[in-house]
Symmetry: C3
Subunit: 433 residues, 3 copies
């Protein structure tokens, strides 16, 4: 994952343009990707797809021709969606188009102006202070034209056509945690899921923030009922502890699975209630969709000084955090995949477990034996294994193992209804759509 | 309000009689009042309206003719509803008819005997101890006759005939906090409400405690379904922090509005669960009516030493407390008036707020911008603005302001059903009834 | 109760055999008992009734003939259900059939092998260490044959055929707290209940643990719907504080009654959630029955070192603990017996209590007066007296007393429905069945 992040880091991404396409091409080497283009001007829900923005070069030069600010040195130097500009400006004029961070004089801030025509340079405060000459030559060699917005999907069909959505935003330029970390963890998770027998189908979305999620929702408006569970991955590589922000409904299966996994993995973590500000869960959880989509982060956006600055570099992201984020996702998916409700086939009294070779059997831990009693006691078709694990204060995997043993001994049968739903296959679910 | 309290203070009120009438006459100079008389003996629910009690004078004199206790000095000197008495009694006999407070030797206690025929004097303990002569002449020049019980209403019609009830008891003689404070705040609140555009109709009731509320309920038995919300005001001028006692149902809109207002006003306050003892909420919340009526107090009855003694004088009541109580009521009424459920008209994804001039617009505080996102996200017809304010941990007024902006931009429409109910006008709601 | 415990202590009980029969014969002198025998091999739910086990004598002797371990000295010396054995064994062989407790060198452990054919001696660790000779003669003069399993019931019919189940396991040999204490408290409770006017019918079950409860459930499978409430009594004599383990449903009337009683009795106590491990509540609360049966213990099983050792002798059990356990059961039964929902007959406003002689009447404590207001306020047919007591934070008995006074004054009538259910009498409920 760190390798992929370093590879993607130098690319100048924005909500549209070649940067996103190049990013998705590199990603397509890792996982099967279906890339889509949506023409500028397309109405998507309440929004219009904006013009496509591309940039070739940009600089601030002294009148003697020395580049004092150079886009080739860092993509953050130009405010995203800056209109083209070329000419000589006074220092006073220029300063109205400069952003810097006095408190962090070596960091470049990240700024955008998607929906208002403007141009600006983002510079370190040392650069800002060093610009003392009366005039400078400036050039932003960008263009805005009717092109298209790009996003990609990786679809992995399962036995059921109920889908698990994993979404990462791809619109930020050279920022590592926000959100190359999310892209890398999503890609690695897709590789993991691709190798597993799957109950659910999985859909990984790599799209520009806000407008990309809105475009995807617009194009799948009649379809989103299939999304049973989802996670937005955003800022999952910084050294802070994990934060899971619950879905709008707040007690959906993904919310409960994540809370369970985080509690049983131990270690510091935080679970936040939904709020309508943050990442693309804002769109997935808008009231007209209200999907069961939460957001996995480490340090929440805005809560760390490196956020949206050049200090969010590949060095800021740790291998341990990326792996911990990935393992948390995998564990949550194991819960979703393995969660089901069962009916005890000997519900009156306890079954004589010795009869089935299940009493204190070798290799069975005390936890699994206790879990068998819990599963038998609560398997009345109304409690899922996750319900049981929570009530028994046992890990889901222990409870799942106990249920497997009981099912093998015909003491447990899947509760009717769930199976049917999962077996129903969507006609064309056989590949990446 | 302090002016009104000082003016009403000297009057000898009881549950019936001229004192109440005089009080209501003075009050009628402040607000439009409709005064009602209910004849003695009228059956009201499980009670009978008692005989009317009036008193002209009362004293204890030495046999030499010196008044040692004088009703003209303080109305509390005579136990309320004392039967007439005149004659010479031994000190021993007299003492059986004396009440004093040894722990507060300068205070006169307040005593009543509404439903048992008796007479007594209430005296300071210093007076009690000074009475050492073998015999005294006593006189209570009162009478009990079939007359009537008096109460008054101020009705202010609104767009809806759902009513907000505000009730204050008027039966106590010279006691300032209990309940001239409630009367004064209710009157001031009526003046405030009278000047506002009103969604709800408002009914202010000034009636004797217990029997007055019961009589009002008896006379409006088929009507009380119109009472949507209500507050009993009792002891709202002492220097203690505010106490709100919730209605029997405990989670009605007035309960939630009061709790919200108190939390967001800051400062010390207490919210108590309903209990069937206290003020007239006992009657309004009896199970056959079960109205959404709470009780606003400062120090609860019985919790402060001045309670029901001559120390509950106009000096005990502070201007700050009265104003704080009034402002709390006004804020709660603003919540009731402004609370409604809406439906987001662009429920799929977030609307592009910039399109409507609502994105980070000048003058909009960060709170209002955040409130707009909350209102959009939760306006699915199932959440009122108060629900939203509570979940967002924002003040109701901020959320109301956000909803107004969104409604102006046609992004929000009132949820069907609520409007209809409020617009329905009661035929004769056009004046004080 | 301590007398009965000392009398029953020496008997060698197991899940079948003469020890249980002798125990029940002694118990039948205290309370009316109906003893039942279920033949070995009878299928009961998922189990088979095992062969009957009896033992006459057992010993380990030196080859010189000295008894170094003697069953006549303590019934725990032989593992329960040991198959018969007789012969000379090497010390090495013998040690594979010895159990001792190195940490408690003077205590004999308690061991069983019901469902696996084996034999063993349980010895103090001092005995174990003293056995140093190369060979010993061993004898277990037991037999396992097709006989029957024995249990007993004491049935006390009430006005309603809804039953309260009290269950104690009788399968342990010389262990006092586990469970002669439960047997003794159950017997004493039966004597108490027998002398009372009863709303409910009561069924006391004295049966071997697990297999006994399962056999009873198997034989009453179509009947268990009559069990309205139940308590398993197990380990109720040790000096620890009371532990109540709630039923599987967790908020049944018996759970709430026990919690109420323990809170209002004061003193240390613990309320545990249900878990599917423990005593016979495991069977009563299996999902196919899911009865409202909790478990009263003092120190939970396994939580004290004396558990399942010879240190659980009659000296370990205290009179105070037995009486406290009994009184707790009686108080909980008083709640069940007295709990009902009523309808206030003057639900509009408060009734004028003075009219009925109920206002501040002599002998009525402040609590009872307050309880009357609570009962009147909440008696809308939807709140039971236990609900009211909990909400009012008053003891059930105070609330019951208030309801009685109000019912005597015709201010309260029993809520329809409850009466009918209770009055319905089961045809043959007139004696021990």
């Amino acid at each position: 994952m760190t390798q992929l992040i370093r590879e993607l880091y130098p690319i100048c991404r924005s909500i549209t343009g070649e940067g996103v396409r190049q990013t998705l091409r590199l990603l397509a080497r890792e996982i099967p990707l279906h890339v889509r283009e949506i023409p500028s001007g397309t109405r998507v829900l309440d929004w219009d797809v904006p013009r496509e923005w591309n940039i070739r070069d940009a600089w601030i030069k002294t009148v003697r021709g020395d580049r004092v600010v150079d886009f080739r040195a860092h993509t953050l130097h130009v405010m995203s969606y800056s209109v083209p500009v070329r000419g000589r400006v006074s220092l006073q004029q220029l300063r109205r188009h400069l952003h810097s961070l006095p408190d962090h004089p070596d960091w470049i801030p990240y700024r955008t102006s998607y929906y208002e025509e403007d141009w600006a340079f983002c510079v370190t405060h040392r650069q800002y202070e060093a610009m003392t000459e009366p005039e400078y030559d400036v050039c932003i060699d960008s263009d805005l034209h009717d092109g298209s917005m790009t996003y990609a999907e990786c679809f992995l069909p399962g036995r059921s056509d109920t889908e698990v959505l994993v979404s990462a935003h791809v619109c930020h330029p050279s920022l590592a945690n926000d959100n190359l970390s999310g892209i890398a963890v999503a890609a690695q998770l897709a590789r993991y899921v691709a190798m597993k027998h799957r109950r659910y189908s999985y859909r990984f979305i790599f799209a520009p923030g806000t407008i990309g999620a809105i475009a995807w929702l617009a194009q799948h408006e009649s379809w989103v009922g299939r999304i049973g569970h989802g996670i937005v991955l955003a800022g999952v590589g910084d050294p802070g502890p994990i934060t899971y922000k619950a879905s709008r409904r707040g007690n959906t299966e993904i919310d409960r699975a994540m809370a369970h996994v985080l509690r049983h993995r131990g270690g510091e973590h935080k679970i936040e209630a939904f709020s309508p500000y943050g990442h693309d869960e804002r769109q997935y959880c808008s009231p007209g969709f209200d999907l069961a989509v939460g957001c996995l982060m480490r340090s929440p956006w805005g809560s760390y000084p490196e956020y949206h600055t050049s200090a969010d570099s590949p060095d800021f992201v740790t291998r341990e955090s990326l792996e911990d984020s990935l393992e948390t996702c995998i564990a949550a998916i194991e819960v979703l995949e393995g969660n089901a409700a069962y009916v005890n086939q000997r519900p009156k009294g306890e079954p004589q477990l010795g009869r089935y070779g299940l009493y204190g059997r070798t290799g069975g831990s005390a936890d699994v034996n206790m879990a068998m009693l819990w599963v038998l006691n609560l398997s009345d078709g109304r409690h899922t294994l996750l319900d049981i694990a929570e009530r028994a204060q046992l890990s889901f995997s222990t409870v799942r193992r106990a249920a497997d043993a009981l099912q093998d001994a015909d003491l447990l049968a899947e509760a009717p209804g769930l199976t049917t739903r999962d077996v129903a296959r969507h006609g064309d679910a056989e590949g990446v759509r």
